[in-house]
């Protein structure tokens, strides 16, 4: 068989095999990681009614991994009756997902401006994060929909990073927050990650600068388990388990064919 045809067949069978858990749903249990447990415990140990920043920073490409984690953070914040602001510093795409998340959760008992505010996107990345930590009102003038924040009761309570009790970072790259917010203000933060940034962020969790850390879709699924609902991360993990079986099978068959060809 030609190499090109084999490649196409592998792609096709990969898509078919990954569709199986969606056609025949199964629920494979996921062991709980300590870093996810720590993230959950940190939120639980923060007093009810505290002020939280939920940062949503991920592009459309990384949304399948990062959005379920950010959504889980948002749901947990609401369950703990936190007052919260939603921010975006790196990926403007995330503003759309933040609005989607707000539409998806039950905000019964929450009043916009008083209990939560969606601040939208600020360009400048690390510089903006530092400015936000130093003087919120110096950087932010309006919310995501262009309304002035000066009259909002919640924003009158937030002037700098010192007024924030907990930072829930639903982003793939939380390092600028660690360097600009944790270091100067000793802030309490937990973070999401995508699978490729987990290793880098783990060093900050290991050094206790992050109080908890979720490992991509797996971390999201674990957090969904802890919150007691099955969301998109859980569905992704079911598919990923099938993908692992596929990869192991493909590696085994590939090696078998290689050694057989070598022998001949």
């Amino acid at each position: 068989m030609e190499a090109d045809t084999t490649r196409k067949l592998i792609h096709l069978s990969f898509i078919i095999i990954l569709s199986l858990p969606l056609i025949f749903p199964i629920n494979i249990p996921i062991p709980l990681n300590q870093s996810t447990k720590d993230a959950y415990t940190t939120v639980e140990s923060t007093p009810e009614g505290s002020i939280a920043v939920i940062n949503m920073d991920f592009s459309t490409q990384s949304a399948p991994e990062c959005y379920p984690q950010a959504l889980a953070f948002l749901k947990h914040a609401i369950r703990r009756h936190f007052k919260f602001v939603i921010t975006t510093f790196e990926s403007p795409d995330a503003v759309i997902y933040a609005k989607k998340a707000l539409a998806e959760v039950d905000l019964n008992g929450y009043e916009y401006g008083k209990d939560y505010v969606h601040l939208g996107y600020f360009p400048g990345k690390e510089t903006s994060i530092a400015a936000f930590g130093q003087n919120v009102h110096g950087l932010v003038k309006t919310d995501a929909d262009g309304r002035s924040i000066e009259e909002m009761p919640l924003m009158q309570q937030i002037h700098s990073a010192k007024d924030i009790s907990i930072w829930l970072l639903g982003s793939y790259n939380s390092i600028p927050f660690i360097t600009q917010i944790y270091a100067p203000y000793n802030a309490i933060m937990i973070s999401a990650s995508d699978g490729s940034s987990y290793q880098t962020l783990y060093t900050y969790y290991q050094s206790k600068q992050l109080k908890g850390l979720l490992n991509g879709a797996r971390g999201g699924a674990e957090y969904e388990d802890l919150l007691g609902y099955a969301g998109q991360a859980k569905a992704i993990m079911n598919i990923q388990n099938f993908s692992h079986i596929f990869f192991i099978g493909a590696i085994f068959i590939g090696n078998l064919l290689y050694f057989r060809r070598k022998k001949n």
């Binding site: 950087l139 699978g195 600068q209």
Partner: protein, 230 residues
């Protein structure tokens, strides 16, 4: 946009991108250009609206100090002028200076001091043996890999410790292996996101249509349909 139409567009985009797995084609190229154009357009609109709310609005309200960042920002466009290129250097110097200053402020504390403290504190014998093993591995790995990247001087090692010096290489290979495995998992997650959309929404009805279109496309490409026409 109507929800059904939105789902149809999303499904079409997904299948058009997947069609690249067969070969590059006009449908894939259309979606590729559309995606890049929309992303750039979205970033542009968000950035302009942010500049408007954080700089133009206060300026109109009478805070004249905001004229300074606006002028500095506009000066960046002197990059395209040979005669006034030197003016571009002023905001650029400020940007680099601020960036480096901010970077150093946080990096020294978070990336150097705290990481060293974390590495030292693994010698906490109150932990269980598994945590201790993990801690020792991190400590030995950190020292070994740091040693591997010291290029300022070189002493020819004795043959007996030459084997031991391969240790950093193994740590680096293990790290790269884990990184690559995670990247594969990330990519699978992206694909999973699309599959969940296709199988759990009304987009499921587009799957048989897409299969038929794919099949016809492949037959056309192989010349089967053309031959019949003749």
């Amino acid at each position: 946009m109507d929800l059904t139409l939105l789902i149809l567009v999303e499904a079409f985009c997904t299948f058009a991108v997947w069609s690249y797995l067969y070969k590059e084609n006009p449908a894939y190229r259309l979606i590729e250009y559309l995606f890049i154009g929309m992303s750039v357009g979205h970033i542009l609109v968000m950035s302009i609206s942010s500049i408007y709310s954080s700089a133009i609005t206060p300026l109109i309200a009478g805070n004249m100090l905001y004229i300074i960042p606006i002028i500095l920002g506009l000066s960046l466009y002197f990059y395209f002028s040979r005669s006034y290129y030197y003016l571009y250097r002023i905001p650029m110097a400020l940007l680099v200076g601020t960036g480096v200053g901010l970077g150093i402020r946080g990096a020294v504390h978070s990336t150097i001091i705290n990481q060293i403290i974390a590495n030292i504190s693994i010698f906490n014998f109150g932990m269980n043996w598994l945590s201790l093993l993990k801690g020792v591995t991190i400590f030995v790995g950190s020292i070994a890999v740091l040693y591997y990247f010291i290029f300022t001087y070189y002493i020819e090692p004795k043959s007996s410790i030459k084997t031991a010096l391969k240790l950093p290489r193994y740590f680096i290979m293990l790290t790269f292996g884990a990184l690559l495995a995670n990247v594969v998992m990330v990519r699978t997650s992206y694909l999973s996101g699309r599959l969940i959309f296709l199988w759990t929404t009304d987009a499921i009805y587009t799957i048989p249509i897409a299969i038929v279109i794919f099949a016809l496309g492949i037959l056309y490409d192989k010349g089967v349909l053309k031959a019949k026409k003749k």
